[in-house]
Symmetry: C2
Subunit: 354 residues, 2 copies
């Protein structure tokens, strides 16, 4: 496991418009580091669906490149109508891969828009799509860096901080959102002690966050999700920072299941709870978090999570992949544009636009 | 898995004073139902240490029979001093198996006391010890039934209830503590919907509680620990009932890690949080929960919990097995003698004695 993330990005495009998308298969971490090559859109769809690539910003980048891969099968002499038809097909298909992360739909819309008014050859249009996907990826890197800068101001040397799930480099094309804040604070000489919730059922905290943080020399302690409240009670946590999968216009935030409990427990203990997310995570069409669709995933994630059955067949299972943290529990949202603080409909519009 | 718990107790003594202790190996459930035979005290110690038998009352019964097993090696013509010396050895050894559940020390003390003043042969003394262990087991069954009766009064037909870890038949010699409440309510015609926290790291909720409840026809849904707050927010929970491993004189309650978070989340959502525990769980020598020792267990329970490594070697791990829920978060403690409500130093002494 000598590979550093700095040298090995979460996803990368290899080649020109006939190239392919390579992604770290995150389901194999931390024991195995393997990249998968996506040469058809079905492979991209499956990779998003199966969480080989996950994290709202990374899903956006993967989907953007997925559109390029999906358009490669079109004949070079197809007409504009044929191109448009295939583009709808590809983007609608990719949109079905996961329901909650709005960055997916945001990236797909952006890809459609750049060629909507474009005259020119099929080749020119695919070149334009590839350029846009690269731009989304580059913007994502810059966004991560900016979030890190803004968020690091909120943390002090010697603090204990808690994070849930993985909002790190593996969740983006850059340094991450929540973890970018920790990396930026560390780069500024602030020594943090990070507690990472393991994040059942899929253990992104144990598998991914622990891996990223320890690789980069951040002092990290892994705990079970159920321990977060007790660690707060013991006085070891001074701030919580998580990512987000979709944020409504009033600041209500959907994120990995368990985030809501962490936010409530932070409030009980007087600890500020921060969300780190790019502006692309906001869905201004939704007035509140009540309108955010919550993905329910398969029972086997809970009953047979690690290749071994750990619950009887007869028991019912409830497996929501996300929950919604109400804006009033969020001390600030850290965006690439700056801090939204306090968090409410007015301050969100001021930063993000209507 | 056709074996019902009614016909197969968590633990049982087979034979006379030269007999042996049989226990269900709970680490193998729900996939495999196997009993282990304990013919020496080391096997009993290992079974408690490795959670083959777990749950505060069951640990008490197992330790009591463990004393009998441990005394079987003594020569029949040993003198009173030799007997007393061996008894100290056996009880001190068993006391090191787990640090938090007070029922362990309570049962060992009780076993020592019944032979402390007893004149007679070695055989007579071991017979007395076996009789006392049987009495502890029988009292445990009666205690479970009484807790069920008192607790069932607190629940109403159609309610959703949450439990954490396993405070069921498998945790006692009888019907359980928290689960006894559900069984008694069901027997009284109240249809409950139980949500069972899976209870990381060792998944007692997934493996044991789900198994017990579904076997006995109780409508049960398994969730991850991190989902409890969200399920409360969705309005699906009307009461929480858990067991306890040790209760201080002011009502502060040590129970499986995660219980404290559940209690705080219940309070936030206006849901009553109940503890079901026999009077033997109270440790009146401790003024408050701050004095309860909290067992820390091996990192591998979190990093390799399912026979597969799921976290990098480099990450630190914090694995407290218990946490302490302050009395003010507990709506009532359900004991075999009745309800302690509200919970404070005065009401605890009134019910338990000084």
């Amino acid at each position: 496991m000598a590979i550093s993330l700095a040298s090995q990005p979460t996803l990368r495009w290899d080649g020109d418009i006939s190239g392919s998308l390579w992604m770290i298969d995150q389901t194999l971490l931390p024991l195995e580091f393997r990249e998968i090559e996506c040469r058809d859109v079905e492979t991209v769809w499956e990779a998003i669906r199966s969480l080989r690539v996950r994290g709202a910003p990374a899903i956006g980048s993967a989907a953007a490149y997925g559109v390029v891969v999906g358009m490669q099968t079109i004949s070079v002499d197809s007409d504009a109508a044929g191109f448009a038809e295939r583009l709808v097909q590809v983007t609608e298909y990719l949109a079905t891969s996961r329901p909650t992360a709005v960055n997916l739909f945001w990236a797909l819309d952006r890809m459609k828009r750049v060629v909507a008014e474009l005259d020119g050859s099929t080749r020119a249009k695919i070149e334009r799509l590839l350029k846009e996907a690269r731009t989304i990826e580059i913007e994502d890197r810059e966004m991560c860096a900016a979030i890190g800068r803004h968020g690091a101001e909120l943390l002090e040397d010697g603090q204990g901080v808690l994070t849930h799930c993985n909002a790190g480099a593996l969740a983006t094309a850059g340094d991450g959102t929540a973890l970018s804040v920790f990396f930026a604070a560390a780069a500024a000489g602030k020594r943090l002690h990070v507690f990472a919730d393991e994040t059942r059922p899929l253990l992104q905290g144990a598998r991914l966050t622990s891996w990223e943080l320890t690789r980069r020399g951040i002092d990290t302690t892994l705990i079970c999700d159920s321990m977060a409240g007790w660690v707060m009670r013991e006085g070891k946590i001074h701030a919580v920072v998580t990512g987000a999968d979709r944020i409504a216009a009033n600041g209500d935030t959907a994120n990995k299941i368990g985030t809501y409990s962490v936010a409530q427990l932070a409030k009980v203990h007087g600890i500020p709870f921060y969300v780190a997310a790019p502006s692309s995570t906001f869905d201004m069409s939704l007035a509140s978090g009540d309108e955010i669709p919550i993905e329910e995933r398969a029972r086997e994630e809970i009953t047979c999570g690690f290749g071994k059955q750990t619950a009887p067949d007869e028991v019912a299972v409830y497996n929501p992949a996300f929950d919604v943290t109400p804006a009033e529990l969020i001390a600030a949202i850290i965006t690439e544009r700056g801090l939204i603080r306090p968090v409410n409909s007015r301050t969100v519009v001021d930063m993000i636009g209507a």
